[in-house]
Amino acid sequence: MTLASMRLEILGTTSDRIGPFALLGLTPERCEPHHVRLALESLLARIDTHPNAADPAADVLRREIRAAAALLLDPVSRRELSADYQNARHGPAPGRTAVAPTRSGASSNGSPRSTSGAPNYPPAFLRDLLAAWVSAGGWNGKARHRIIAAGAQHGVSGEALLDAILTMPVTLATPRDTPLVGPPPTGLPGGFDAAPALNVSDVLSHRDAHEAAKRNLFAAMLAFLACAAIVIPFAAWVIFQINVMGPKPDPSLTNASPAPVAPLKESTTPLLPTVPREELSLPVSPMSQTFAGVLERLDRDSAVATELDQAVLNLFASASTQGRRQWMQFDAGARERLRDVLVSCLYRLGRDETSAKSLVDLIDPDQPRWMTTEGITGRAWSVGMLAVMMREPDLPAPARSVIEQHWHQHVPTGSPPRSGDFDGAARFALREMISPLVGTVTSEAAAVELWIAWLQCVSTVSDKDQAEALALESARQVLIEGPDISASDRAGRVIAALFSVVRWKTSAAARGALLAWWDEPRVSASDLAVVSSWIVSTGAIPGLDDSFIVPTNAGAEARAALRQKLAEAWTSAGAATGNAPARTEVADWILRADRLLADPVRSSPEELLVQTIAVAFQNTAASMIWAARPEDAATLLADAEARIAAARLTTAPPPGGATPPVGGDGDWAVLYFRASKENDREGAKRLVETISQDILGDLGPINAAVLADVALNGQPREIRPVALETIAGSYASGPNVLLALADKMIPDRSDIGLSDAIERITGVDLPDPRQEDWYTRARLALLQHVASLRGALSANASIDSLAKLLAGVYGDRLAHQSGTQTDPAEAARLAFEQWVEIGRPMQPIAPLPAPLHQILHRAAIRAAVLDDPIGRFHAWQIASLEAASYVTAAERPGARQELSDLLDSTTLRLAVSRNAMEQLLVAERALTKVWEIRFGQAARGGDF
């Protein structure tokens, strides 16, 4: 988009010749610092909400607006500009003709009106006025904005603007020095740029001219009356808008809805300062060649180093230090490369404790004073890196030990991020920083810079929802624990920075958080006054007027009333923008939900699982409808039955085991035994090597046991790898041989050759044989392989297929899922976390069933207790139910008792459930009931 177009849409003009007053829509009478800030905020917000807000043109415009604001905020330059403005308005200095201190337009008269009573505005102003009206398509909000901007551009005060609008029909129809009755102009309305008029006397006779004049007069009167009927209400609206922005509201002209408390006088409400948006995001670029060279050298040198020497350590220190400082500026590929090289170094050189400690300490140095911009970015990176390294089970034991120590310093308790997820872990670290950062708002001069660094990190590792949730959580804490933002510029700047990542118009989380602040007694009324004033003035939430601004002395009752009013206004605004679910979709959903809830509970585990999945589809559809994705919901529900049926039809594949052995079992064993007893080593070895030529596929139990015994305990030892090779090469599909091998393995005895053979046979990556859990994992891999070959694992394949479908359906609830979920417990955990993220900004006075931190705590305990696949899924399912209830109760305080009853009855139903599958169904149905309540459906009782 071009700068001119952007100007036109934002300022209502394409001209770049605008003075500071005009640019900001101010006058010398209204240019106190808070007016300037308000105007600046308003214009920047308008640019930010523009679809092309990220274009360079928008940045240019932002810079111009900020420069104008800076001029007007400076007392000296403001005085000079005011003097220029007054001179221009009341008595143009010689050689100057502008009606306002602009470099465009001209006025032949210092008076706003001509002696004839017709308005005497410069043609450029009137043209802009008309252009604004026409381009907006009539009298509407867009026209209002553009007209105000046009007035501001030409330095026309609010009263004069009203006057101009009221007289516009006359003005437009009456070019200067043109009599009202006379030859009508042609060309453009208003005739400012009209072609020369035709001489009517040449065409009409005197009588005809008289009649024409009468008709013209009549038509002009009609046109005037019609226009006045339209213009006057609109003008009142414009005046109201001017009053919102101006210092002296005129209640008589506003049509604001009555507020329960007297509207706040703006002059008493300090406004939020501005934080430049570009400060909050960093340009991302590939890694510099120098740094890439460092990594390359580190990778190469560590690969050939036998131990950690000083040179490699220095390279590692350089890489990790730069990583800590600059990781946010790297693109994804560069970040990945950095992680890979550092982890590879740990694999190669972290084999002894000293080296491992040296390396890990560089990644996560001990920083008692981390509260600096570098400290914040570094700490987030460190925790992210630790999470990545925690994912590496095959790291040398000393390295793992040191990493775990560091990890638990950062993640001691609670619900830690899952290891392996850099972004998730970094976000966790950033969340942990919120409380200490809030403390800086009072004490640290550089608090704003710290918060900006924090926000930059957040933006790097979060999607928009996650960043918004963290920002809202932080804002809440600043409002509760920080200094009064009406008195502290620093606090105000922090809040403004945090608000910059919130999508007020579209985000349900933002709505919930903001409304919760009205409920939160620890958020002072003066803070709410600033916040509400900002929301109203910036248009962050459309359709609000100053009756929504909280008075600084508002009591609990007034706050509650304003909260309710805001909630209602916001809901309708959301509906207008398509964010609230449509009634028909919800109604259809509820009808279907009722049918599902009325379905009698079946008895067999598989039938119960099918019922659970059907309800899970319903709940996923609810989340889609709520997220304004009704088409997705409809598609999901339309496919539900077919997908369930397909999963149920899954049958077990035929066992992959080899054909049963043919011939006498034990013959080979006798031959081998004899050769062994007679010390015929070559003969014994040959027998082991050639057995597969005689017996294909699998061995009988006796031969299998003897061959496995040779592989594990054969003497001389040289025969063991031969036997292992025979097993891995020829009997990888032989359940008898493999089961014998598994059953004869001795705990605590590890063998690299055996480990390699098992990896070849099973395809499972095993840990280093010296690690403690090697035996367990190696044997489990073999047993799984054997069970699979025997068909034991797939005897009830439909259950597993249904479980996978359940995971997929849960995964569909996730707003930010990557790939299809196949693990039901993991999918349920993610669904729970999604609810938590929704609920995190909400701070209900009476949380249900418990405060959020306690819900998290309970979830962690349940997941630890229920440690099998079905139990763990159920644990996260119950956690989701609790978190969903929390969110719904916070959104609908009136439904709190209903939700509480629902949770109680669910507990009872779970307790009397016959089996785990019925418990899954009960929990999933309870979640459906919560959705019904969230959709505003009154409880109808009944079984579920």
């Binding site: 308790t413 004869k744 489990l780 025997r790 259950i799 305990i861 207790v865 079905i870 763990r872 307790a911």
Partner: protein
């Protein structure tokens, strides 16, 4: 630490059927004990007059007194009475006494060797706790218990492997008696026959007495000295398959039992990564414990509406 065979005997004694039965009862389908009745026999009848007097002084307006008297009952060895009092205290004022009552009940269950109940009660106490520092899965020992559980599952699986190979001696050596093993046996002891029976078999069958599990023995007919083709038994091979165990020492295991055993081992060792079908095959989708304070009366079948003690009975206030 490994246990010798005599320790296994002790283990078998610990894993008595009575306790196995008890383990399966608590969370599932108890009767609705909150049906209003007028009286309920005290559990048990107070053996000491002084305790009776103290019981009669209790009032629902002071739930703390129930809890304190429960502690005194423990000191006096009246565990059933203590349980009753703790459950009443927890139900009357869960906010203040719920967590403490659960911990006290867990201690009682530990004394009684009911490990599953103890774990569930500790977990419930953790749920009721407010601070992650004191009641995290780590501090409650849940994670370490899970690790121990997995390790015991692996050792139990190893034991079953040696049992399948007919090596009772190694099987018993692999089995480690600890709380986790006991929990495993309690939870899944009946998955395929009975683990107790398997342990018993291993005790009686350390190995094949003839071949000592080598499966092949020297030909008893020719003593390994016959020329080729001359011995009718070994055909001159000097060795034959063990004539006692037939080359397959140990107990005959049917294919179905073998599959069930494999599923059991795979499901337990895979933890939450096991397949759902394997898990259902192992535990028949038994109901999971409902960790909620309201469940306490159901677990112990105590009518918590009867809160006043009069004439040796709990009655309505």
């Amino acid at each position: 630490m490994r246990l010798a065979a005599r320790h296994i005997l002790m283990a078998m004694a610990l894993l008595a059927p009575v306790r196995l039965a008890a383990a399966q009862s608590p969370p599932s389908a108890p009767p609705d004990v909150n049906e209003p009745t007028t009286t309920q026999p005290a559990v048990p009848a107070s053996p000491l007059p002084s305790m009776d007097a103290r019981l009669e002084r209790l009032s629902p307006s002071n739930p703390g007194a129930y809890f304190l008297l429960g502690e005194e009952a423990i000191d006096e060895g009246q565990l059933d009475l203590a349980i009753h009092l703790f459950v009443l205290a927890a139900r009357m004022d869960g906010e203040h006494f719920g967590r403490s009552a659960c911990l006290a009940l867990a201690e009682i269950e530990k004394r009684r060797g009911r490990l599953i109940e103890e774990r569930d009660l500790r977990s419930l106490a953790g749920l009721l706790g407010d601070t992650e520092r004191t009641d995290s899965p780590d501090t409650l020992g849940l994670r370490s218990a899970e690790r121990e559980y997995r390790r015991s599952a692996a050792l139990l699986s190893a034991m079953l492997g040696f049992y399948r190979q007919g090596d009772g001696q190694k099987a018993l050596a692999a089995l480690e008696l600890n709380d986790a093993t006991e929990r495993l046996v309690k939870e899944f002891g009946r998955s395929f026959g009975s683990i107790g029976r398997i342990i018993s078999f291993c005790r009686n069958y350390p190995r094949c007495p003839t071949c000592r599990n080598e499966r092949i023995i020297k030909c008893p007919s020719c003593r390994g000295g016959a020329a080729p083709g001359q011995c009718s038994l070994c055909g001159g091979q000097h060795f034959i398959v063990c004539n006692l165990c037939g080359g397959e020492p140990g107990e005959h295991i049917s294919p179905a039992d073998l599959d069930a055993m494999l599923l059991f081992e795979v499901a337990l060792q895979s933890g939450d990564k096991a397949s759902w079908s394997a898990r259902i095959a192992v535990d028949q989708a038994r109901a999971r414990p409902v960790l909620d304070l309201t469940m306490l009366p159901r677990w112990y079948e105590i009518n918590t509406t009867l809160t006043v003690y009069r004439n040796g009975e709990w009655t309505l206030p």
